[in-house]
Amino acid sequence: MTILEFARGPAFQFALTLFVFGVVWRLVGTFLMMRRHDFSKPRKHSLVAGGVRSIAMRSLPPHELEKKIVFQHVSGYAWHLTFFASLLLFAPHIPFFKQFLGFGWPTLPNGLALACGAVALGILLALLWRRATRPVLRHISTIDDYISVILTILPLLTGFFAYYRFGIQFIRYETLLGLHILSVCALMVWFPFGKLMHLFLAFPARFQAGALLRRKGVEA
């Protein structure tokens, strides 16, 4: 069995099983563990509106810190947009999603999708460098942060190696492709157990916080 066969077969099956198990476990656990019942009289109603408002407001930089966090803010948006463009709009990736969903969608020209991937990779490397070199950031960083960033970098990096066939003199294309899929498997295995889970929890958490604050009469 070659690395590519292993990656596409047993490794991916294992990663997918663990990914589904972990994500459902975290989501069910989190939602069932909601706060205790609050017997106080709500100061304001329309909690849903409060939750939605909170999602919107926390997606923008706080006014007081707007200038201080402009780099994180811009790079955060740029990273997410370019990363998802390279993931979801790169033509060779579509059959991967189609096998689960049963349908595909239009894609970007490969050059544009790859440019998005390059921007995403560059931003991630810059943020990792920043995290590792700034004393305050380093102090508040945990191993979870580093693992999550590195495991997100690897699929991008190996994807470029596979597409452009870097080092093809030393390593065969199918091995490069196998390593790319294995890096995705590693990301999927880690995903539910680290901070990457924010993909599923960020908006519910903001909604819940907004709804609770609304109940207490706070406009947040």
Partner: protein, 357 residues
């Protein structure tokens, strides 16, 4: 079938009326095919001129004769075909006149006369589950291979069956088919894989063995000159891949426009062969040009490689039952964890009462 014409390859070609110009052209082509410098063409010519016509024995085992068909039909009128005649093809069941006991006698005589010097070509895999599955003159394939290989100078495996087991080895491999290299360990083996291989690769390899010995091989024992790059590397549809223009089905507008066949299962990116360079039938066309994706026929186990029409970027992810089971177990684990956490929480008001007391 032993040729009545002795002497060198050069003698034989002159006797067949091949001009010096035609011969040099072939030598230049061969040098080019084998990725040699243009200055090597005269050396190829010199070596071929002097080369003794080696005896070649061609053993067909579990095969479909497609490799022989490919070779003889596509190239027999060319100078490559003449060169193929120029080697002394002493035993080839499909095209030899002799049959039955006479044929077996020829095999015995040729191996005896050329012991240690002949080139053995093999097409077809070798069944090991039962020796009786494939026999020639009552001799099993494995016994015949071991016997003839002992006196061979080198073995050239023609086609994916002899090189890797091929179609007979496909799951569940009912005959226990194996490749030549699974049985013979002490002889140089050159794998000219493909289903069938490109004819020019067969003649090119034989020319190289004649002139300079064993060519440079890759890790599957294939000559790098023909198997050094992937189909995708040289595919004329590659620009469509770069632009993200793909045929989604074999009958859609993309297919009619000649777009990339990656999404309909083309295995070009992982298939090492030179079809996209040399094409077939004198360079007329090849499968991808005819509208079908590469099926990866020169790679080991290509029949079992997760479906001929499944795109390369798909995976063997299992099925929804497994995923559903994982989700179910995850839900139960999450519920148990949440309940356990809630039980640890103190009832509402308890903290206030504690503070008041």
């Amino acid at each position: 079938m032993t040729s009545e014409l002795g002497g060198t390859v050069g003698d034989f070609l002159r006797a067949r009326g091949v001009s010096r110009r035609g011969f040099m052209k072939f030598c230049a082509t061969t040098a080019s095919l084998m990725a040699m410098a243009p200055t090597m063409a005269p050396k190829v010519a010199e070596a071929l001129e002097k080369a003794r016509r080696p005896s070649v024995i061609w053993l067909p085992f579990q095969e479909c004769t497609g490799c022989t068909e490919s070779l003889t039909r596509s190239h027999s009128p060319t100078i490559e075909g003449l060169l193929f005649d120029a080697i002394s093809l002493d035993y080839q069941e499909t095209i030899m006149a002799a049959a039955g006991h006479q044929a077996e006698e020829i095999l015995r005589d040729v191996t005896k006369e050329n012991w240690g010097n002949y080139i053995l070509c093999v097409d077809g895999s070798i069944p090991l589950a039962n020796k009786g599955y494939s026999t020639i003159g009552g001799v099993s394939n494995v016994d015949m291979l071991k016997q003839v290989a002992r006196g061979a100078k080198a073995i050239v495996c023609i086609g994916s069956c002899s090189a890797f087991g091929g179609l007979p080895k496909a799951n569940p491999n009912p005959t226990g088919a194996v490749a030549v290299s699974d049985i013979i360990k002490d002889k140089p083996i050159i794998n000219v894989s493909g289903c069938p291989p490109i004819p020019i690769a067969i003649t090119g390899i034989l020319a190289h063995v004649l002139t300079f010995g064993i060519p440079e091989l890759d890790h599957y024992g294939r000559p790098r000159a023909f198997y050094g790059q992937t189909i995708h590397d040289r595919c004329y549809r590659r620009p469509f891949y770069e632009r993200g223009q793909f045929a989604e089905h074999f009958d859609d507008e993309g297919a009619k426009a000649g777009w990339c066949l990656f999404k309909v299962g083309c295995k070009g990116p992982i298939t090492y062969n030179s079809c996209s360079t040399y094409k077939w039938n004198f360079g007329v066309s090849w499968p991808v040009e005819a509208g079908h994706g590469c099926i990866g026929c020169s790679e080991p186990n290509f029949w079992d490689w997760q479906g001929l029409y499944r795109p390369l970027s798909t995976t063997q992810w299992g099925n929804w039952t497994t995923v559903g089971a994982a989700a179910g177990v995850g839900a139960v684990a999450g519920a148990v964890a949440a309940l356990a956490s809630r039980r640890k929480q103190r009832p509402v008001g308890e903290d206030v009462e504690e503070a008041q007391s």
